[in-house]
Amino acid sequence: MSDRPTSDGPSDASRPAIAMDGVELTYADGTAAVRGIDLTVPTGECFGFLGPNGAGKTTTIKTLVTLLRPTAGAIRINGFDVEREGRAVRETVGYMSQETSIDPELTARENLRFACDAYGVPRRERADRIDELLDLVDLAAVADKRTDDFSGGMKKRLDAATALVHRPPLVFLDEPTTGLDPKARNRLWEYFRSINDRGTTIFLTTQYLEEADALCDRLAVILDGEIVSEGSPAELKREVGGEILEVSVAGEAATREGAADIARAVDLFEADAAVDVTDDGIAVTSERARSNGTDLLVALRDADIQVTGFNVRAPTLDDVFLAITGEHVDVEVAEPEGALTADGGERA
C-alpha cells in the first residue's frame, strides 16, 4: 500500500479507506501500545476493532486520525499518508472520540455550526445541513439549548452529528456507545447503519461483541497491541462455538463433575461442544444450547442432581478471547444494560 503514488490515491475508487502496514506505536514511557498491525479496510465497509480495555484500540484509532504519530510503519487513509498529508487526512475523516467531545457552553446548534466552520462546509449549505443533522439525531427540539444539561445519550448523539457535518467518506468511532443505556445505544446503532448504508466507511472500536455483531461486516480482535484474530462476526462466534448454557447445581465439586459427565454423554450437543465445570455448576457452549438446554436439565434431574438455576447467554468478548487465546481477559464488564443515564429527549 505504502508504495502507491500519492497522486492517484485520492481519485482511485478501488483504493482502500484504511491501509496499515506494520504499524507500531510506543509511548515515551516505553509502553508498546500497538505492536505491528497490518490491516486493510475497503471503502464502504463497517469494520470493528474488538478488544478489552488497554488492548490498544484507542491508540490505534488516534494514530489513524493523526492525533498520534506511529513509531514505525505506514498508514494511508483515503489514499493519503497520515504523516505527510495530515491535513488531507483530517479533511476526509470524521472522528468521534471515546469521551464525548462537545462544548458545554454552546447550544447544540452552535456546536454543529462550529464543526461546520471547522471543516469548511460551504456557507450557503450550513443552515440546512445543521437542521438535517439535528433531525437525524433527534435533537431538533433542544437545538437552541445549552448542552451542559443534556443527558449522556443526547451528548453522544450530538457528538456523532458533529463528526459528520462535512460528510466524510470515512468515520472513526471510538467505543461509541460505552456507558449508554440500551435505548440510546440502539438509536445510535440505527444511525450508524444508515450512514454505512449510504456508503460511508466506518471504523469502530468496541468492547461488546454484541455491538460488533450488530454493526460490523468484519472484525479484528486486538489484544496487547496485536491483532489475534480477524473475520466476520459469524466466523468469530463460530470460533466460540455457539451460545453458552450455564447450569448451577447444588452440591460439591464431585456433583459438578458428575453433571459435566452427563452433559458430555447425552446426545444433545455437537460432539465438539465445550463443557466446562464452573464455580457453581457447568457451562456448555453449543450451537444448540438454547434449543436443547431443557433436555439437559431433564437428564440432570433424572440423575438426581438438583439444578438451582440456569441461563442461556450470547458469547461475550471474554468467551471469544477464551476460544482464541485459551485465556480469560480482564474485560471490564460494563455491559450497556443498567449503565449510566436515561435517555430519550428528557434531561439527565
Binding site: 485520492p10 492525533l67 479533511e91 472520540s97 462550529f114 464543526a115 469548511g120 460528510r167 450512514i195
Partner: protein
C-alpha cells in the same frame, strides 16, 4: 438526510476555510463563551477596581509625595491608573490557560486537532478573543480612573495607546498561563500558578511607587520584572513624558524614551514566552494526547 458518500476528491476540495477564516471561527467561539460567563468578566475586574479605589484612598496622601519628587504635580490617581490597567491585563491573561484546560477536559481540544483547521489560527482566534476582553476591561479602568480624578495627559489617543500597551503586555502572561495549562492539565493548578505570580510581580515593580523610593533589592528585581516595562510604558503615555528609570534612553525624546525600550522588551518577552507556549502546545497536540 444523512451524509452521503463522497469520494476523497470531492471532500478534499476545500470550501470556505482559510487562515483568517479559521482565526475568525475560533474568535467567535471564545467570545460566545465569554459572554455566556459574565461572572468571569465581572470578577476579574472587581479586584483591580478595589485596588484602584483603596490604594488611592489609603495611600493617596503618603504616596503623592513619593511620586512627585520631580516637583511635577501628579495626583496618585493619575499615577496609579496605568498600573491598574496592567493589573487588569495580568488578571485577564491569567484566565487564558483555564479556557485551554477546559477545552482539554471536555474534549474540544482534541476535536479541534482532528479538524483541518490551522492550529496556529486556532490559538490566534482564542487569543484575539482574550485581547478584546482585555481591551474592554482596560477601557473601563481608564474611564473609572478619569471619574476618580485621574488625567490622561495625551488625551483620547493616549488612552488608546495605553490599551495597546496593555494588550502587548498581556501576551507573555497569556503564553505563560497556557504553558501552565498544558503542563498541569488542571484548572486549579493553572489558576493558582498564575495568581501566585500576579501579586508579587505587581509589588516588586514600579506599579505602586517610583523605582527611586523602593528598597534596593526590590529595585534590582524590578529591573527584570516585565510588569515594570508595561507599567512604565502606560504611565509615560498617561503623563506624557519619559518616566522610565530602569533603562535610561534619551535618543527618541519625551514619551518615546520610555515607550521604545519598553515596547522592545515587551515584544521580546512575547516572542520568548510565546515560542515556549507554541512549542508546548505543539508537543501536546502531537504526542501523548492521553
Amino acid at each position: 438526510m444523512t451524509p452521503e458518500p463522497t469520494d476523497g476528491t470531492a471532500s478534499r476540495s476545500r470550501s470556505g476555510n482559510s487562515f483568517p477564516g479559521d482565526v475568525w471561527v475560533n474568535f467567535v467561539r471564545w467570545n460566545i463563551k465569554a459572554v455566556r460567563n459574565p461572572f468571569v468578566l465581572v470578577v476579574s475586574l472587581v479586584q483591580p477596581i478595589i485596588f484602584l479605589i483603596l490604594f488611592t484612598q489609603v495611600f493617596g496622601q503618603v504616596a503623592t509625595g513619593a511620586v512627585n519628587q520631580g516637583a511635577v504635580d501628579i495626583s496618585y490617581e493619575t499615577y496609579l491608573v496605568p498600573a491598574i490597567c496592567m493589573q487588569v491585563a495580568l488578571a485577564a491573561a491569567a484566565t487564558s490557560g483555564v479556557g485551554l484546560v477546559n477545552d482539554i477536559e471536555n474534549g474540544m481540544f482534541e476535536k479541534v486537532l482532528v479538524s483541518p483547521m490551522n492550529r496556529t489560527a486556532v490559538f490566534l482566534g482564542k487569543t484575539a478573543a482574550e485581547v478584546v476582553r482585555i481591551a474592554a476591561q482596560i477601557t473601563i479602568i481608564i474611564g473609572l480612573g478619569v471619574v476618580l480624578g485621574a488625567e490622561v495627559a495625551t488625551g483620547v489617543v493616549g488612552a488608546v495607546g495605553i490599551v495597546l500597551v496593555g494588550i502587548l503586555f498581556s501576551f507573555w502572561f497569556v503564553a505563560l498561563s497556557n504553558t501552565l495549562a498544558v503542563l498541569t492539565r488542571d484548572q486549579e493548578s493553572t489558576i493558582i500558578g498564575a495568581n501566585l505570580l500576579q501579586f508579587p510581580l505587581l509589588f516588586v515593580s514600579t506599579a505602586f511607587l517610583p523605582l527611586a523610593v523602593l528598597p534596593g533589592w526590590i529595585q534590582v528585581v524590578a529591573r527584570f520584572n516585565p510588569v515594570t516595562y508595561g507599567v512604565d510604558a502606560a504611565r509615560a503615555i498617561m503623563l506624557g513624558r519619559d518616566v522610565m528609570t530602569v533603562v535610561e534612553v534619551t535618543a527618541f525624546g519625551g514619551v518615546y524614551d520610555t515607550l521604545v525600550p519598553a515596547v522592545a522588551v515587551l515584544l521580546g518577552l512575547a516572542i520568548v514566552f510565546g515560542s515556549v507556549a507554541v512549542y508546548m502546545l505543539q508537543r501536546a497536540s502531537s504526542a501523548n494526547v492521553q
